[in-house]
């Protein structure tokens, strides 16, 4: 497994081990990658598609064709769908020439599932974080309005919501703008 995200690599490694593939090595560092891979002589190399080391690695695989155990580029053509799914998920896979397709497919499928699950997790985390940020901005904006206009909280909220609806913007955006303006105009923010 070559992945610059140690967290993601760990998630996939765990999955591979669960299905009994215990001989897994995770490489996170960019330097010395080619040398390490040649030492390890793996059957399959899983790598995140966007890894900046891919062109370098492919060059070394091309050169390795002269060796007794060349690493081919990708799985058999007939298995295009599972590769396309892998690419879509953001994974590239390299396998040793002659490795049986039925042995690779489950590895690839598992990697795709785990990769997607990880991406989903990241998304949820991101959404949760921005929801929290939204709520903070709205609370602050309400406080500003309550102080400046001498109104209570429900009234402040109603005002924000009306402004958002009238201007076709998200509530949090309106709140954010208000807080920014207040800061710029010398309020207490």
């Amino acid at each position: 497994m070559v992945d610059e995200s140690a967290a993601r690599a760990a998630v996939i490694e765990e999955g591979l081990r669960e299905v009994g593939l215990t001989d897994v090595t995770v490489l996170v560092e960019r330097t010395g990658l080619v040398r390490r891979l040649h030492e390890l002589s793996p059957d399959v190399v899983l790598m995140n598609l966007e890894n900046p080391g891919r062109d370098v690695l492919e060059e070394s695989f091309a050169l390795s064709r002269a060796l007794s155990r060349p690493i081919a580029m990708f799985v058999d053509q007939s298995d295009e769908r599972s590769i396309a799914e892998a690419v879509d998920a953001g994974i590239s896979a390299y396998v040793v020439d002659g490795l049986r397709k039925d042995r690779i497919k489950p590895v690839l499928e598992l990697a795709v599932r785990r990769f997607n699950a990880f991406a989903r997790l990241q998304n949820e985390l991101h959404e949760a974080r921005s929801a929290l940020a939204d709520r903070r901005a709205i609370d602050k904006a309400k406080a500003v309005l309550m102080k400046r206009r001498g109104i209570d909280e429900p009234a402040a909220y109603a005002l924000l919501r009306k402004q958002a609806m009238d201007s076709g913007r998200r509530l949090a955006e309106v709140a954010d703008a208000l807080v920014t303006a207040e800061t710029l105009l010398g309020g207490e923010g």
Binding site: L49, E50, N51, P52, G53, R54, D55, V56, E58, E59, F61, A62, R65, A72, M73, F74, D76, Q77, E80, I83, A84, V87, D88, S92
Partner: protein
């Protein structure tokens, strides 16, 4: 509106699809463009071959290698439109530049020989010079090899050539991982401005009209969406006209500079667009004629002889077999027929021929065209060699033999 998802790397010659999108030229043709930036050619290629994108900004030899199935299952690609000629430089670390003495821009051959002499002495000391090229199947690799070989330096024996993706080149020079590189702009200028690199030669000095990037489609997609592909070609052609309009160059540089495209300052990007390069930090600007030809002289026309020359170099360096079928397959990637069909009746310059003798033009020359007035600029190789597509096998065979003879006896 029909959608084209287009992959690209952050390089100045990704300009035309970006312009077509941002200036509404695609929209005028009833198309929507979605651009997808990557960091390596491998990722750009995979997204294209597995259908995550519909088209890609690609180094021309990689499109051929992908179609031929070198190293991997073959995926036939079709290239009906070139995105530019040249636009690369050979850049060396400041330390190597100082060893080579005065920067001599006017004579690519002379500087190549000096570099070759240095390479030989370093090899004799067991410290071979190491060069980075952007991909095994890149015009950069073949241009650098052509130059070194013609100057008496065997690229496989006297120096070491490794792969470094474009955005990583400046860092690799700075870290001392490589002594020199051949990469497209703006990555050379980035190294120059940091004081880590000196531009030694422009690839346009090696071959005046070197084949470079193309827009590649999966061949079946090109057939299935033929009308839309032709519309996209018209949008890109219009983008080309805009890109070379001097009045627009400042704005184009600013556009490419944006974070989602190249993400570097506009003044660095403007250098390649105007051909006004700074070869060494704080050195005066050098104007390089025809540094990057984005559109003039029907530069976007996919000459089949360009594909053949690239294949001859793949043969020369052992990347592909010497056989007529290989040449045939390489040539079929380039689709001048689609280019002509797309631009017929638009007033665009449409060359009559689909192949030409490469390297035969010394000074601007009128050439026959179906429509428009075609003036071909100088297209010389620096060593004066000619590439006649009718004798491509001979050319490749001779170079192959000469290259084998040049292997140093240890």
């Amino acid at each position: 509106m029909s959608l084209f998802r287009i992959g690209f790397l952050p390089l100045v010659d990704a300009a035309l699809p970006i312009i077509a999108h941002e200036y509404g030229l695609a929209k005028q043709e009833g198309l929507r463009i979605e651009l997808h930036r990557d960091r390596t050619w491998a990722a750009v290629r995979d997204r294209l071959t597995y259908g995550i994108t519909d088209a890609a900004h690609l180094v021309a030899p990689l499109a051929i290698a992908t179609s031929l199935g070198l190293d991997r299952p073959a995926v036939p690609l079709a290239a009906p439109f070139m995105l530019g000629l040249n636009g690369n430089t050979v850049t060396v670390s400041t330390a190597i530049a100082d060893l080579l003495g005065e920067d001599d821009w006017d004579d690519v051959g002379a500087i190549g020989h000096r570099l070759a002499a240095l390479a030989h002495s370093r090899a004799a000391q067991g410290r071979k010079l190491r060069f980075g090229v952007v991909h095994r199947y890149s015009s950069h690799n073949y241009m650098l090899r052509y130059w070194l070989a013609a100057c008496g330096c065997h690229p496989d024996h006297d120096v070491e050539i490794i792969v470094v993706p474009p955005p990583a080149v400046a860092d690799a020079l700075a870290a001392g991982d490589i002594d020199g590189s051949c990469v497209g702009e703006p990555w050379n200028s980035v190294a120059v401005d940091r004081g880590d690199g000196v531009i030694l030669a422009s690839t346009s000095g090696i071959w005046n009209r070197g084949v470079e990037k193309l827009l590649a489609f999966r061949a079946p997609l090109l057939d299935e969406r033929r009308a839309e592909v032709e519309a996209l070609i018209r949008a890109l052609h219009a983008a080309g006209a805009l890109a070379i309009d001097r009045g627009q160059q400042g704005d184009v540089a600013k556009l490419l500079a944006r974070e989602e495209y190249i993400g570097l300052p506009a003044d660095i990007i403007a250098r390649a667009l105007s051909g006004r390069l700074v070869p060494r930090r704080d050195a005066p600007v050098r104007h390089i004629r025809d540094f990057l030809v984005l559109h003039r002289e029907a530069a976007n026309f996919p000459w089949r002889s360009q594909a053949m020359w690239l294949y001859s170099q793949m043969v020369r360096w052992g990347h592909a077999p010497l056989d007529a079928a290989g040449f045939e397959a390489a040539v079929s990637v380039f689709r001048p027929d689609v280019y002509r069909a797309a631009l017929a009746g638009t007033g665009a310059i449409l060359p009559n021929a689909s192949a030409k003798v490469e390297g035969a033009i010394d000074r601007p020359l009128g050439a026959s065209s179906v429509s428009g007035r075609l003036i071909m600029g100088p297209d010389r190789f620096f060593d004066g060699m000619l590439f006649d597509p009718d004798r491509a096998m001979d050319y490749a065979a001779q170079q192959l033999a000469a290259t084998a003879r040049a292997i140093p006896i240890v």
